[in-house]
Each structure stands twice: as C-alpha cells, then as structure tokens.
C-alpha cells in the first residue's frame, strides 16, 4: 500500500503515486506545516540543514540539504493551496541554474487513508531524461564503486 509508483507521461512529466495511512487533512498538515516538514524532508540522500519560510500562496520555502559536505539548495514557490486537496508549486535549484520543476500535488481520500497523486513537470524533455536516466545510471556507478571498495577491503 505504501509503495511509490512512478510513471513517465508525455515529454516532460513524471507522475508519482503513493498512499498514506492517514486522512487527507492530516497529510495536508504534515506536508505544509514548516515544523512538521523539517521532520521528513530529510533522508540518507541528503540531511536537511535548514528549512525556512511558509506555505502560503505567493510564499516560499527555502531548503538546504547537506549533500556529502556541500550545500544543496531548493526554493519552493507556492502558486495555489486548496486545503486539504490541491497544491501547485514550483521548485527551483540554484545549483542547477535555477532549473524549475512545476509540481501539482493532489490528496484523494481513500478507504484506508490518502492517495497522493503528484505530477512533476520538468523544464523540458532533456531535463527529465537527465534527472531520471543519468541520475539512475550515476547512482548505479556509485553503488558499484562502493561494492568494489567493499570487495577489495
């Protein structure tokens, strides 16, 4: 039930679907409240160093993650917030020339919680392919390099 499903659609969209065991109101709060966002917008792929701002229409969140010793920044700008069902925002990445993704997030009430339906629209087809295909292969290069080290040690 909690598996992330990703699909490529059209030239530059990626559609992500994921279910959560909580009603939409609760999911909405967790994904828009800055203090709660600090608790989960972090992972082994990048520890959240700081998060400031507010999810209001026209407002922004500024994220900084630690990416193996260097800062990775992202600015989220909110264009639409219709609690508890719809968010439209843009994510821009200063380290990547402010390349901007448009994201539409819908929260749909289902029997045992919430289905999140997210459409990520990349700046262009090349940006999507770079992110998915190059990211995937580079991720694997890193994995194989670690495996080599492990086997050598």
């Amino acid at each position: 039930m909690t598996k992330l499903i990703a699909k490529a659609e059209g030239d530059r969209d990626v559609v992500v679907t994921r279910r959560f065991a909580a009603p939409p109101e609760k999911v909405w709060k967790a994904i828009t409240d800055t203090a709660l966002m600090r608790q989960w917008m972090t992972s082994d792929f990048g520890a959240l160093k700081s998060l400031t701002g507010e999810a209001v229409v026209g407002g922004q969140h500024h994220f900084t993650w630690d990416n193996e010793g260097t800062d990775m920044n992202m600015i989220a700008t909110y264009d639409l917030l219709e609690a508890p069902t719809l968010i439209r925002h843009r994510e821009s990445w200063p380290e990547y020339g402010y390349m901007e993704n448009h994201i539409e997030t819908r929260l749909i009430a289902v029997e045992d919680g919430t289905e999140m339906h997210m459409v990520i629209t990349f700046a262009n087809a090349e940006a999507r392919d770079q992110t998915l295909a190059v990211g995937m292969t580079e991720g694997m290069e890193a994995t194989y390099a670690n495996l080599d080290k492990l086997l050598a040690g």
Partner: protein, 113 residues
C-alpha cells in the same frame, strides 16, 4: 522480457550505462554512438541489443536510419528503484509515514463530539 531483473542485469555494465547517459541527451544512431566510446560497431550493437531486450531503449525506423532512443516508461520505473531523484522522494515519504503516525488526531478526525 522487460522485468526489473532484466533491466538491472542490462545496466550492470559500465558501457551500457554510458550508452544510456548518451541517449539521455537525445536519440542517436549506432555510428554516432561508436564515436565517443572507441569500441567497434559490432560491440556497440551487442550492447544496444541487450538494452533493447531489457526494454530500456527502442529503435526508431526512419528510412534507412535506425536511431536508438530511451524508452521513458521503463527508465521511470527503473529510476523509481535506483535513481536518486525518486529514491530520495521514496525515503522522504517513508519518514512522512512516521510523522503521520506520531501526529495527534486533528479535530476533524474525532469520532465523538
């Protein structure tokens, strides 16, 4: 056959990963793919065949040309397992599961008045 196992086996080779990275910049013919790799056309063709059988790429037919291109659907599905972009999203959503479990019920959720 284009299961996840087949795709991973196809990607368990540095030349084939490099070919995927090259095709992420746009479709290319076998001749175009040979240039940067400095290996023979038959060798490149063999690698492309493995990637195509795994469903990661496809061949477009244009007159006598046979440019190869990425199959976006398969790339997205495979990246959901191994790409940092979707893997990061997945890791965050697992953390979000924990946050949701720890949150007190909202007033709208209370069953009794």
């Amino acid at each position: 056959m284009d299961t996840l196992d087949t795709r991973l086996a196809a990607l368990a080779d540095p030349t084939r990963r490099a070919l995927i990275q090259r095709l992420a910049q746009g479709e290319a013919t076998v001749a175009e793919l040979c240039q940067p790799f400095g290996i023979s056309q038959p060798a490149i063709s063999r690698h492309l065949k493995v990637l195509e059988q795994a469903g990661l790429i496809e061949t477009r037919i244009e007159g006598t040309a046979r440019p190869r291109r990425l199959r976006h659907q398969a790339i997205a599905e495979t990246a959901a397992w191994f790409g940092p972009f979707l893997a990061t999203l997945d890791a965050r959503f697992r953390a979000l599961d924990q946050v949701l479990a720890a949150m007190p019920d909202l007033p709208t959720e209370r069953k009794d008045p």
